[in-house]
Structures are given as C-alpha cells and as structure tokens.
Amino acid sequence: MNLSLTLLTFSPLIGILVLLFMSGNNRNTMRWTALITSLVTFGVSILVFTMFNASNPDLQLVEKYNWITVAGWNIQYHLGVDGLSILLILLTTFLTPISILSTWTAVEERVKEYMIFFLLLEIGMNGVFLAQDLFLFYIFWEFTLVPMYFIIGIWGGPRRIYAAIKFFLYTMAGSILMLLAILWLGVNGGTFSLPELIAQGGIPSNIQWWLFLAFAAAFAIKVPMWPLHSWLPDAHVEAPTAGSVILAGVLLKLGTYGFVRFNLPLFPEAAVRAAPWIALLATIGIIYGAAVSYAQADIKKLVAYSSVSHLGFVMLGLFALNPEGIAGAILQMINHGISTGALFLLVGMIYEQTHTREFKVYGGLWKITPVFGTIFLIVALSSMGLPGLNGFVGEFTILLGAWGAGQNGVFYWGNVWFAAISALGVIMAAVYILYMFQKMFLGPQGEIVDEVKKHGHAIRDLNWREIVTVVPLLIFIFWIGLYPAPFFDIMAPAVDKLVAMMPLP
C-alpha cells in the first residue's frame, strides 16, 4: 500500500494539531512549528518526486479507495500525480515555507490562527493538484477558499473585508457552476473518477460545450482571465505579503491547472472549438493587463495587473493545443509562481519598513539598499522575460506554440495574429517593469527615506532572514532560465499524451 500522496497532502495537519494545543504568547514557537511543518511537507514532496518516473505519461503513485459507494454514489478517494501536476506540487510545497518565513515579523497578531489557516491552505492546494476524483477535487477546490478568505480578511490591509468577500464570492460564483457540471458527469457517467470519465468520452458535442463552459467559468475566474479579473487587484493589494505570494504563486495556478487537467481531456471537442475564443481573451488579457499595469501608482497593484498579463500567456499557450504551447504554459505557471511570488515578497519587505506602496514617494533606493536593489532587479528582469532568466523560456515557448497553432489552423480564424499581438505584451512588460524599477531605485532620493528617518530609524537593507527567503527563488530563476531542459523533460510525456487526445483540425 502506497500512501505517499496522502502523506504529502495531509502532512501539514500534524503542525495544525500541534498549533491547536499551543497556548499563550510564544509566537516564535508557533512560527517555528509552522515553518518546520511546511519544510517537512516539502521534504515529503521531494521524496514523492524521487519516486516519480518522468518517462511515464500516466498517473503514478495512485491511491484509490472507495469512499462513498452507497445510495447510487460512486465516489473514490483517488489521488495520483503525473507530469502535468508534479511541478506544481513542488511549487506549492516550495512556496509555502518561503511565505511562512516572510511573515516572521510582518504578522504579530493572532499568529496561531494565521499559521493554522496557512497550513490548512496548503492541504487544500495539495489536494487540488492530486485529486483524480471530481468530487474529491471539488471539495479540495472549495476548501482552499476558506483559509484564504480568513487570511485576507483578518490580516489584510485597510479594505480587507471588501477584498475578502469579493474574492470569496467571485470564486464561488464560478465553482458552483462547475459543481453542477461535475454532478451531471457523475450522474450520466456513473462515476466521478477522472481517468474513467476521460476513457468513457462520448459526451454529445452540444452538451460538451455547456459542460466545458461550466468548468471554464470556475477556472477562468480563478486564473483570472480578462474580463473576470477584477477581484484580483483588490485581493492582492489587501492581502498580507504571504497571502499575496501564495495567491499569485499557487492559487492562480489552480485555475490554469484546472484547464489542463479537466477541460482539455474531458471535453476535447469543445476545447478545440473554444481555442480561438480563449486565445482571444488571453491576448486581450495580455495587452490589457500590461497597459493597466503601467497606469498604476501602487506597487502591489502593478504586480497584480502584471499577473493578469502573464497568465494570459499561460492561457494562450494551453489553448494552442500543441506540445510547445502546453509545455510552455506549464513552465510559465512555475515561472510566474517564482517571479511574481518573489516580487510580492520584495514589495512586502520594503513595505514593512515604509508602510506605503506608492511609487511617488520612493526613489534612489539603490544607494541605500544595494542588496535589495540587485535582487529586485533580477526578479524584475525575470518577470519581464529577459533571455537567460526563467520568464523568457516560458514566454518564448508559448509564443512558439501559439504561432504554430495559428499556422496549423487551431486558432481557425485568428491565425498567427494572437501570437504576434501577444509578443507585444513582452515589450509592454519591459516598459512597466522598468518604469517601476526606475521610480523606486533610481533618480533622486524619494521623500520616504526622510519620512522613515523621522520615526527614528533609517531604511535598512535586507537582513539574513529576508535573504534566505528570496535566495531559493533566485536559484530557480537562473536554473530555469539557463537550463530548462530537465523541467520540460518531466512534463513532456504527459503533455504529449494530452495533445494526442485532442481532435485537432
């Protein structure tokens, strides 16, 4: 009996139980408990990775037990991992300890509850990536909402309640439609098991279309795709730093992952039919997100809108429906998690000192904080897709895929225009990212420097804890940028298998 995936999913539970019975004000013990738990979970995920066979395109380490098999139900506790999800699992377990580390001094109130919610969130995210039963998946999917809602709502900024409720209602609005589609599949297919439903196939194309839309509603809101993105800037701006990191790093990927895992294989005909439309929305998202980013006065908002743009690339790659596009999209999910996660971390670090995110008060920070500036520059360049860093690899592969899809008729009326216009997005990214960097680090010294001095302490450079927090991310920024082949190799068999299912024109 192989329980490694169960262990991976639920190992944060140990920390939660320990935290529950902790009392009083030993906040550091609580932080250490949470950090160690998340590191253990990361260790388990590495263990899972060593057991994972990258040349096998199928689900591995499968656990399948009957859960609810009475009264006409056929629900299984069914976990499994394949090339599409293994990297995302690693990203989740990798980012969680980093975010916990980032809140070491930022969260001083109700530390116990904070850490509990964070670990609960990790369980939910792991479960979403591993569940292979639609019912189980839905439960994990909805469950991720609850802790995130509390994290934004309790520890967020001034408009946190508004942002939390907006986040909750938007996400729920999509997922309840997906619930109906899941139930339809379960009732008509006699099972909720994803592999079995995919094998059965044969859903009439008009119904397939509606089911596709219902699933897409849930995922598109989560991604978020233009025009369903309006919850994202609010949630990002109000969430505490670690919340933003996880939100950008992992939670948004739940949406794009959902498209890969469910929409494409379950409804291949509808996916092909929808491809140009999704590509259109993705392209609009890329340009719109980039343009709006440039107009922001708030650093976090800028990064939030840049996510809309970056995830547009991911969606474009997915619906190119060819190996380059999908592999590029999955890699770009990882890249975005790392780069945007790192950006939010860095913004959080400076915000902790200055308590403002307005560009206009910053300026000339390079001289005061050279280490911070250097790291920020690397991350910013990675985010805008500089060759040699990770962002470039993902975006380039996606554009390659999108160009191919335009040529071989997958985007049947869009042709190569989607790829061509999206490429502009890369240039626009350079504009808003460099603009942000220039406003913060170059030029004359901003008023915030004196402002902070008035309170008795100068702006300091990063301390050891903060450096430890970001360095792991930097390693991956360079690694993926310089030598992405191992990452592509892990997902290639599974991606090829997925593409083979598509009834391409």
Binding site: A71, I139, F143, I165, L169, M172, L180, L183
Partner: protein, 480 residues
Amino acid sequence: MNQFDLTTILPITILTVWACVLLLVDLFIPKTRKGITALLSALGLAATLGFTLSQIGMEDSGFNGMVALDGFSTFVNALLLVSGLLGVALAYGYVKRMGIERGEYYTLLLFSVVGMMLMAQATDLIVVFLALELLSIPLYVLAAFSRPKTDSEEAGLKYFLLGAFSSGFLVYGIALIFGATQSTNIFAIVESASTSTSNLLLTIGAALLLIGFGFKVAAVPFHMWTPDVYQGAPTAVTAFMSSGAKIAGFAALLRVFATAFPAIATDMTDVLWVLSAATMIVGNVVAIAQTDIKRLLAYSSIAHAGYILMVFVPYGNENVVATSVAAGLFYLVSYAFTNFGAWGVVIALEKKEGKGLALNDYAGLSKRHPALAAAMAVFMLSLIGLPPTIGLIGKIYLFRAVIDAGFVWLAIIGVLTSLVSAFYYLRVIVVMYMKDGEPTAEREPWLDMTTAVTALVTVIVSFVPQFLFAWASDAVLKLF
C-alpha cells in the same frame, strides 16, 4: 386493536406516557429545581430513541392502515428525538437565565415531539391532521412562553392564528380528497386515483394540502409569519421549532406526496418547482438585509425549506423519486444539526431583555471566545454549503437528485441562491473575526456541549457520510 398495532406506535406511546407522568411529577419538583424536569424529559427522549433505533428494519402497519412503521418513519423519528434532546439541552440553561424556567416547558416539548413522530408515521390524512395539531399546539404555547414579554406573546398569537388558518386549508384539502377518492387513507387514495379519469377535485385537494404544509415548513409565499415568530419566541424554542417542525412537516409531505399523489404529478411538479425556486430566492435575498441574528437565521431557515422542496419536484418520476427522497432525508439531518448549533451560539450570546441579538454584538467574538466563534464559523460554512461540512454534502446530494431528474434550471437557481446566501453568512464570520468588540457569552456546560457536539457532527459526518447515505436510502426503499 391488537398487540401488533401497539408495536407500530411503541415509541410514540412510551413518550406520550412519559410526558403525562412528567406533567404530574413536575408538580412535586420544587420551583428552584426544575432542572430535574429537564433531566427527566431528556431521559424519556433518550429511552424512546433507544426503542426507535431497535425498530430499524421493522416493517409494519397498524390500526387498519392508519399508521405505518417502516424505515422512513424510523429514520425521521430518530432524527426528531435527537432534535428533542438537543432542544432540551439548549433550553436547560436558557430558561433559567431568562427567568422563564417552568416545568411545563419540557412537557410541552415532549408532546410536540410526539406529534412530530406521529406525523412521520401517519398513513391516513386524518392522522396527519391529528399529528399536525398535536405538534403545533404545544409550539404555540412555547412560542409565547416568555410571557409577559410582548414580543413573545405576539409571536405565540401570530403563530397560533396563522397556524389555525393553515390547518383550515389542510382540513379542506383532506375533505376534497375524500370527496374525490372516498377515502382518507393514502393507499386507498393511490388506488382510487389511478383508476379514475378526472382528477380535478383531487388536484385541488392536494394543492390545499400543500398550502397547509407550506405554512408549517415556511415555504414562500406562506412564510410571512416565520421571521416574526422566530424572533419573538424564546430562542431555545425557535431552535427547536425551526428544526423539529420542519422535519415533521417535510416528512409528512414526502410520505403523502410521494406515495399518495403520483397520479397528479404532472400538475403538481410545476407548482412545486415554482414554490421551491421562490422559497430559495426570497429567503436568501431578504436575508441579506437583516441585521438581527434571529431574523437572519429565520430567513435562512426559509431558504433552506426551499432547498428541501427541490426534492419534491421530481416526485412523479419513478426512477429518481427514491434518490430524491433519500437526499431530502439526508438534507434534513444536515440542516437539523447545523441549525441547532447555530442557534446554540445565538443562545450563548443572548442577554436578558432581548439584548445581544444584533449582528454587531458578535464583533470580536473570535478573540474573546475563539471556540464559540470557530463553531459558529463552521455552522455558517455548512449553511452556505462549503467544505469541510455536512452542509456541502447535503447540498450536493440534493443537486444530484435534481439533475438526475433533469431539472437543471432548478439546480442552477439552487446554486446561484447559495451564492447569494454566502454573502450574508459570510457577514456573520466577518463580524466575528474581522471586527473588534468586547462581546460576552454565557458558557453553560450543556449549551457548550450541544454546540460542540453539533459542530463536530457537522464536520466529521462530511468525511464519512456513507453511513447516513446508506441509512437514508434504505429508509425510503419500502416507501414506494
């Protein structure tokens, strides 16, 4: 009458006798020690629950087909008795604190449970009516139990007047059905309806019956009394009323409609569809505007009546009626536990003179009483239908039954109104967790225990619902 007749109503008999004895015993219990009465009544309920559970699997019919003992009645009776126990546990400290501790409280509660149980077993419309009165009259008195508080008296009177009015509909409906089929026994009705050609009289009768029950279960547009009565009645009574009366009303509806009226299903399905959709929409939308927790939960209770009504819509479809009735039963369980828990928290925060009931009085609860706030959060999540709670499982079961029957639009209305409901349930969580305040709460052992037990059931059953699923679907096997 023979001995077999008595076994069919054995639990009811035991509880009735116990309640009568308790009425006498209570005279000798000193005024300051009415807790003994509570304990005795709980013992009676627990003993009856034991007998009921021992009857699982038994199939019988008694008194010339007037009452039935079957899986369905056992399931519902067990749930009703558990509700009774929870009702007593909630009331124990509450009535003392509010200065309305009188022994009759518990006796009346027992009589009401007897009526509810009879309702679940009735297979004759006359018995249904008897049971309805038996369950309602003690509730009218209980609603006015805080006399001389005007709110409570008003609640009692309002409930009584509208209840009497709805009984009128019910009796008139029974009369018309008798006219159409020459019988009040539901098996005879089925036979007669399947052979006759014109069903107009029967349809009108069934519609009137539906109106009568609609009042009891607070379905829109017969829900007007609910917020006022729920708000005015002592909170412990409201908790019991909102679960118990709903369970009994739905049990009778399920049995009567599913077994007696399949012949007129085509006419009734549309009516039930509209009734269900309207109840979900009105209940959830109006709840948004509430700032008083009791009124909020009252509208929430209306909304949930709408969800349960969904299971009636496909009752004429032989292939799915069993699943949908089972889904209804499961939902009643999930609603009962969640609802009792939520009212338990309300009771913990309520102060004398109706203070402590505004939503804002919950501000900061998570800091002062983290366990209480966590429990309330669980109940709210369950009422929305989010994991990891039984409410989600219940809703999924309902929606599956409705989709199975092909009423996709009703399911869509169901999920969209759930989304609306998320808004006001979340507000409770927002106030508890994200606003600052200095709330005080009573921590009585029985109350704490009730809240803890219901919260645990709400969470744990969501992981292992298969036992209840199996029981619920076995319970409806012999019904059709």
